[in-house]
């Protein structure tokens, strides 16, 4: 029975890993996102954006409080909820108080529940959850809690903005909704049906379906249905390979209308669409990249490209996360107790680097901000994605989108 000795060695190794606990003058932010596996591209790019934002916006400005510096500590969660919870534990053991995560609403809901439980069970080392990208509306509605802050506009808010554009276009008479078969895809589909019904009851929804997530090898049969239904517009929440597969397939098979979507930019997708996507793809997102909102944003983007020539600023909101967190820590006067920091964050108004002001809504910790409809284009984009010559350019803007939207959030505040 050699279990005992091997287990000893095992745990000894673990100890060395977790031994380098927090030192005095850095405020660590754990970045828990996929850094290996199929979604690593998105994760690594997000990490670079965090590191760059912390360096440029906080550390080079003299830090927070008495010169405390931000440090981003990366944890690879392999986009698995289980691994995320392990890494969360490791991060908390290292004395980290701020957790940033964004890829996959499934992981986010696992994390937000785990953090809620952890904070209830361990009042001495509570942590905050800075969700920068997971957009399932439930996270700021039924599943909301005091420790969770969402810096991206949620799926409903974005769909509200998208349907504004659709409603304004009289050419569109028939809409086809297609999405991945899981919580986010379903949220997109039901929001689309609801908003179109409210805004343009005359638009016919000629198709509304879900396909298995990440499993479809060939989207041709779906494209055939879309073409056969004579749809004037497609709405989809697909991302990653599913977005690319669906988009390319419908365009190749004779569809000529617009595709309204959330995630069809950067991480190789912009390059892969290239000229095919010109005039077809319409993306809803926050953060204006093209044309640059102001000189500061342009300079910031250029500096980022100088450091990461292969990278993209695909998640502009990350600068808001860093700047608002820094302000909240300064207001609270301490970074170790997260309760005052959370109170400072809730209700905070902030001027975004990418133009417009943003506001962290107090009831549900959902950031209210300008939402833009972008077009995928190769014409006069100042900053392209994937170095492909193509990028996304703002076409329409909804200011402070969904400011008064209802929420079912009932928060317990300490």
């Amino acid at each position: 029975m050699r279990t005992s000795t091997t287990l000893g060695v095992a745990a000894a190794l673990t100890l060395t890993v977790s031994a380098f606990a927090a030192t005095a003058d850095t405020i660590k932010i754990a970045f828990i996102d996929p850094l290996s596996g199929p979604f690593a591209g998105t994760g690594v790019n997000g990490l670079h954006q965090y590191e760059f934002a912390a360096e440029e916006l906080v550390n080079k400005q003299g830090g927070v409080l008495d010169g405390d510096m931000f440090e981003i500590v990366a944890f690879d969660n392999k986009i698995s909820p289980k691994e995320s919870l392990i890494q969360l534990q490791v991060a908390i053991d290292q004395g980290i108080r701020y957790i940033a995560q964004g890829n996959s609403s499934g992981v986010a809901s696992a994390l937000t529940e785990a953090i809620n439980k952890h904070n209830r069970r361990n009042p001495d080392d509570r942590v905050l959850f800075l969700n920068y990208s997971a957009v399932d509306p439930a996270l700021t509605n039924d599943k909301c809690n005091f420790w969770h802050f969402r810096f991206d506009a949620n799926a409903d808010i974005k769909m509200d903005a998208l349907t504004d554009v659709i409603a304004a276009d009289d050419e569109i008479k028939k809409v086809y909704i297609i999405g991945q078969d899981y919580s986010f895809g379903k949220a997109v589909s039901s929001a689309a049906v609801r908003f179109i019904g409210e805004k343009r009851p005359d638009i016919e929804i000629v198709g509304n379906e879900l396909h298995p997530i990440g499993k479809v090898k060939d989207f041709t049969p779906y494209s055939r249905k879309i073409v056969a239904a004579e749809a004037d517009a497609i709405i989809t929440g697909n991302w990653g390979a599913d977005m690319l597969g669906l988009g390319k397939s419908v365009l190749e098979n004779g569809y000529e209308g617009p595709i309204f979507t959330y995630y069809a930019a950067a991480d190789g997708i912009t390059a892969a669409f290239g000229a095919t996507g010109e005039g077809a793809l319409r993306l809803v997102a926050e953060g204006q990249i093209n044309p640059p909102a102001n000189d500061r944003a342009a300079a910031y983007y250029e500096a980022f490209k100088a450091k990461y020539p292969d990278g993209n600023i695909s998640q502009a909101r990350i600068t808001n996360v860093i700047e608002m967190l820094a302000r909240a820590i300064n207001e609270a006067g301490s970074a170790t107790d997260v309760v005052p920091v959370a109170y400072a964050l809730a209700g905070m108004e902030h001027e975004s680097m990418w133009g417009g002001s943003v506001m962290m809504r107090e009831q549900d910790h959902q950031l209210i901000q300008d939402v833009h409809i972008h077009a995928h284009t190769g014409n006069d984009v100042t900053f392209d994605y994937d170095n492909s010559g193509f990028g996304i350019k703002v076409e329409e803007t909804v200011t402070m989108a969904a400011m008064d939207s209802p929420t079912t959030c009932e928060m317990d505040r300490p």
């Binding site: 029975m1 100890l15 290996s36």
Partner: protein, 432 residues
């Protein structure tokens, strides 16, 4: 517990004999004491989380080895039994009225029963044949249930899975399982119970017959045992213990998702078990420990952890089909003859060389990776606590030379090692 349970026809001496039901006490006592003491040595929560994960993997791998090692049945979809057991437990946790009257430590029994129930249904048709048919049915059923997890939202909760709060159960002698350390002892207790039960099962006539059916179903039938029913019982028993592992997962993480069911998870458990060694009872335990460490600790150090794991796995299959346990047990004869000491120095030379060579090769791999995938302009990389510029020649020379020297030593000393090995394993000369 180190009796060989694989019978190799080529080595009649090592064929297992009918064992007794007696439990060799010493190793189990040591293991129990170690499990109790460990949290006092490694007190921080992340070490405990990793130990919990390890213990769950151990139970699951042992359950899997009841099929693969003892029954010779290769399953590509075993994660579903653990997963379904876990999901069922999560529903029990969420059934507030019932759960409020149930002490948490008893929950794994329900997980086991649900895992067993599913195994009974699937086993009723999948165990009729062994070999490829069984493997393919297990793959098909595994894929089906994994696919159902996103379709049947009522039970599986879709892509988000389902979660609950373990602390609402009936307090167990005042313990509410708020802290990780309390959960650790719960899991450790179940680890001991399940490991002992599985060990005892392998000693029962049924467990022994599973070996016989694996090796020669026809002859087993001549003994009056139906090969099919023997396979079926092994399968059901394995499903029970897999269900327990799933229940412990539910207790530890308080969430179950599609990834508990999918083929990746099933593949991992196959990898873990084979890496540890299917031929010995304690093989999967070794495999689970090594794998969990690689997954959680090495992945903090390098992005390429899965690549190294792949290399280790393929090398194991090719050169040491007995796995880690088989490798260790090769030394038993020399140990019994008291000649193990003769091997120490040759081992040190060869393995030391090999280790240096491997580290050099790993450095080369990391540098190539950095050169190819780091962002342009990012020339700095840190390896083995030294930071250097990956675009200069010197580090490449150092790594290359280290690799060559290391493997050179390894190669040069290998014949001496083989000789020492033969010497150590040679039967003592009988005095005339």
């Amino acid at each position: 517990m180190s009796d060989q349970i694989t019978s190799e026809p080529t080595k009649p001496a090592q064929r297992m004999r009918a064992g007794s039901m007696v439990l060799p006490l010493a190793p189990w006592l040591i293991a129990a004491v170690a499990l109790v003491v460990l949290p006092f040595i490694f007190t921080n929560n992340s070490a405990i989380t990793i130990m919990n994960q390890m213990a769950i993997t151990i139970i699951f791998a042992l359950a899997y080895n009841m099929l693969l090692g003892q029954g010779g049945m290769l399953s590509f979809g075993h994660a579903v039994y653990a997963g379904v057991g876990g999901f069922a437990c999560m529903h029990i946790i969420n059934a507030e009225d019932f759960f409020a009257g149930l002490p948490l430590p008893l929950l794994p029994i329900f997980g086991g029963l649900f895992g067993m129930g599913l195994a009974t249904i699937v086993g009723s048709f999948s165990t009729r044949k062994a070999g490829t048919v069984f493997a393919m049915i297990s793959l098909g059923v595994g894929e089906l249930i994994a696919a159902c997890s996103v379709i049947i939202v009522a039970f599986f909760g879709g892509e988000e899975g389902i979660s609950g709060d373990r602390t609402y159960g009936l307090p167990f002698f005042g313990v509410e399982f708020l802290q990780q350390i309390e959960v650790y002892y719960l899991i450790a207790a179940w680890l001991m119970i399940s490991a002992i039960l599985m060990y005892l099962y392998s000693r029962t006539p049924m467990g022994r017959m599973a070996n016989a059916v694996r090796d020669n179903p026809e002859r087993a039938e001549f003994l009056g045992y139906s090969a099919r029913w023997v396979r079926f019982y092994s399968f059901v028993a394995s499903g029970f213990f897999a269900g327990i592992a799933g229940a412990l997962f539910a207790i530890n993480y308080e969430i179950l998702t599609e990834e508990n069911l999918n083929t990746t998870q099933s593949g991992i458990i196959l990898l873990v078990t084979f890496l540890g060694g299917v031929g010995f009872f304690f093989g999967p335990i070794l495999g689970a420990i090594v794998f969990t460490l690689v997954q959680t600790v090495l992945s903090l150090q390098t992005e390429l952890w899965a690549f190294y794991l792949g290399i280790i796995f393929v090398a194991t299959v090719m050169f040491f089909p007995g796995g880690l346990a088989g490798l260790l047990m090769m030394h038993v004869p020399a140990w019994r003859m008291g000649k193990i000491g003769h091997l120490a120095w040759p081992y040190l030379k060869t393995l030391g060389g090999g280790l240096i060579g491997s580290l050099g090769a790993a450095a080369l791999i990391e540098m190539v990776f950095h050169l190819r995938h780091a962002s342009i302009g990012d020339h700095e990389m840190t390896l083995f606590w030294t930071t250097f510029d990956s675009h200069t020649v010197l580090p490449w020379i150092i790594a290359g030379v280290t690799t060559l020297i290391g493997f050179g030593i390894c190669r040069a000393t290998a014949p001496a090692l083989v000789e020492a090995w033969n010497e150590a394993n040679a039967a003592p000369k009988v005095a005339p």
